[in-house]
């Protein structure tokens, strides 16, 4: 199954292909995932696993396919080949025998609501207040009552340190604050997996810390996270595994400290020498 250079990315999850109990199943399992846009193949057979409660950081030069891979995990992009499972469930398709059926958009939406995503450019809804941003999806998608949604949102805002900003509009917040709201918005759906697509790349340097702090506390609370990032400090400190991608393949994967201090591949070495 893992015909790429990488072995299974997660260190401890040695679960074989046979999914015995659900608890033994990793949160994310990619088996030879392929993605192309027209003739441009962006992902060439990505295989990796992310265990429950694990934090995986993905690094790599721009155009290496790391964001695309992330977007495949919640089916913002359609996978063209291989299989991608989240919590044991095939993403975007249904398999019966050896036939694969496309999912109805409503079913895809159902899969996505358990997978949170935080974007590089925050993508808060500018016409809604911070509170409204957070309660929108719980109310519309999960059919939560307004009171329950507001209560939960208030807790989440306190958790990201923005309890006083509930009534503010996104445009009046700093980038770091906006990104923390975006994290709270994703958490409001009580996801089992959180995806971060370069969450600090659009931030002023002095605002990066506050967002990373929130992410660290999330990781400490046991949230399963996949983080595409350039923050090597965060990767070293928080991540359970580190994946280096280049040219649509996983070049190297393993324990973050080991990869960072003692990279095995030339491309990893070259990349790390530039970012460290």
């Amino acid at each position: 199954m893992s015909d790429t250079a990488s072995s299974s990315a997660s260190a401890e999850s040695t679960a074989s292909a046979a999914p015995a109990a659900r608890a033994a199943e990793p949160m994310v399992r990619a088996e030879g995932v392929m993605k192309s846009f027209g003739s441009n193949t962006v992902l060439k057979s990505i295989s990796l696993e992310v265990g429950r409660g694990e934090v995986m950081c993905i690094i790599g030069p721009s155009g290496s396919g790391k964001s695309t891979f992330l977007r495949c995990i919640n089916h913002l992009e359609k996978v063209n080949g291989g299989r991608l499972f989240v919590d044991g469930e095939l993403i975007g398709y249904r398999q019966r025998g050896d036939k694969i059926y496309e999912l109805h958009p409503k079913e895809a939406a159902l899969q996505r609501r358990d997978i949170g995503m935080v974007f590089q450019r925050f993508n808060l809804f500018p016409h809604l207040t911070v509170l409204e941003n957070i309660i929108e999806a719980p109310q519309r998608v999960k059919r939560q009552g307004r009171d329950a949604a507001v209560k939960r949102a208030t807790e989440l805002l306190a958790r990201v340190g923005l309890a006083d900003k509930a009534k503010a509009y996104p445009a009046s917040l700093s980038g770091g604050q906006q990104q923390r709201v975006a994290i709270a918005r994703a958490l409001a759906m009580e996801p089992k997996l959180l995806l971060f697509d370069e969450p600090t790349s659009a931030l002023d340097p002095e605002l990066v810390g506050e967002v990373l702090d929130v992410m660290k506390s999330l990781a400490a609370s046991g949230m399963t996270m996949i983080v595409v990032t350039h923050e090597m400090g965060f990767a070293r400190e928080v991540a359970d595994s580190l994946v280096f991608m280049d040219g649509g393949v996983v070049v190297e994967a393993g324990d973050p400290r080991q990869v960072i201090t003692d990279p095995q591949h030339e491309r990893t070495k070259a990349f790390l020498s530039k970012v460290l």
Partner: protein, 327 residues
């Protein structure tokens, strides 16, 4: 800096926080004699034209203008024109919004349907369309509502079923809907793609995303040109004589002039009324646009966030290095 050797009267050395000591510039404004000359010439020409129109041109027939301006038949016609405008625009906005959403839907059948609609109704003159609507009763003589394969049915002649006024409204609304759909489509497309992705990533369906996230933001772009369309519609109602509806402002004034054999004053009456209504609409549009421009919260800051607290700590580099002028 502090070594100001200049003999400047108010220059008091060290950069004081209260900059009260610096001179206020009282410059003599630049003169624009050319503008004055052109303005005077234009005013003279205008005055001559008005004088000429008032005194030397009996065909304007100003007494008749005054007489018919508040004629009951005319003011009723103004009301009909307003009704036509409002009803057609409401229809056009609803249908146009629907068509725009269809055009952008993932469903190819809806997309094709919307495209054909815009193609036909934007591609033929509104006057021709209105004539067609007028001939509806000729083409489809009866309207029958019944249960298929039975004889139970209710039937009207088309003429009974729908009045000329409503035919005009339908004709105007459908034509305008084609334009409104393009305006709405542009508005929808102006919303950042990330908004759509964020909503979808939260598990919202396409319809929910459109209704709750995209359309509210698209309104900012949709509203100003819609104001223009209202004004345009007001004037287009003068074509309903093609249906033929004869109770609107232009047709009514033309009918009156057909009796009096004096068309010019009634044309002036109609023009005045159209101008008055347009002016009122322009005021309305001004406030509407101001209202939507005011919500600066709509401005998507994206990667350039405003950081009020961080930006406030402005470094105190007040161009002191330039201060050593004199000596």
């Amino acid at each position: 800096m502090s070594d100001t050797t200049s003999t400047g009267s108010a220059r008091s050395g060290a950069p004081s926080p209260s900059g009260a000591s610096s001179d206020v510039i009282k410059a003599i404004p630049l003169r624009h004699p050319g503008r004055w000359i052109i303005a005077v010439v234009l005013v003279v020409i205008l005055a001559l034209f008005v004088y000429d129109a008032a005194v030397n041109r009996p065909t304007y027939d100003w007494p008749s203008v005054a007489k018919y301006l508040f004629d009951r038949r005319v003011s009723q016609a103004v009301l009909v024109t307003l009704e036509l405008t409002v009803l057609s625009m409401i229809g056009a906005i609803l249908i146009g919004g629907l068509v725009a959403v269809m055009r952008l839907s993932p469903n190819p059948v809806l997309r094709a349907l919307a495209w054909v609609f815009v193609w036909i109704f934007r591609g033929t003159p509104v006057y021709v369309q209105l004539v067609f609507w007028g001939l509806l009763a000729t083409i489809y003589k009866t309207v029958t509502i019944g249960i298929p394969f039975t004889t139970a049915a209710v039937s009207w002649t088309t003429q009974e079923a729908i009045s000329v006024f409503w035919l005009a409204v339908i004709g105007l609304a459908l034509n305008e809907a084609a334009y409104m759909s393009e305006i709405a489509r542009a508005g929808i497309l102006s919303v950042d793609k990330g908004q759509d992705e964020a909503a979808v990533a939260l598990g919202m369906t396409w319809g929910q995303t459109m209704r709750r996230i995209i359309l509210p933001q698209a309104m900012r772009v949709i509203i100003p040109p819609t104001g223009n369309e209202v004004i345009s519609m007001l004037k287009t109602t003068s074509l309903v004589t093609a249906v033929p509806l004869s109770t609107d402002l232009y047709t009514r004034t033309r009918d009156i002039s057909a009796e009096t054999f004096n068309p010019i004053p009634l044309l002036i009456v109609a023009s005045i009324w159209y101008l008055v209504i347009t002016s009122v609409l322009m005021v309305g549009q001004y406030f509407l646009e101001k209202r939507f421009a005011r919500s600066t919260r709509f401005i998507d800051v994206g990667g350039n966030p405003v950081a009020p607290t961080a930006a406030a700590a402005e470094p105190a580099t007040t161009g002191e290095s330039n201060e050593r002028g004199g000596a």
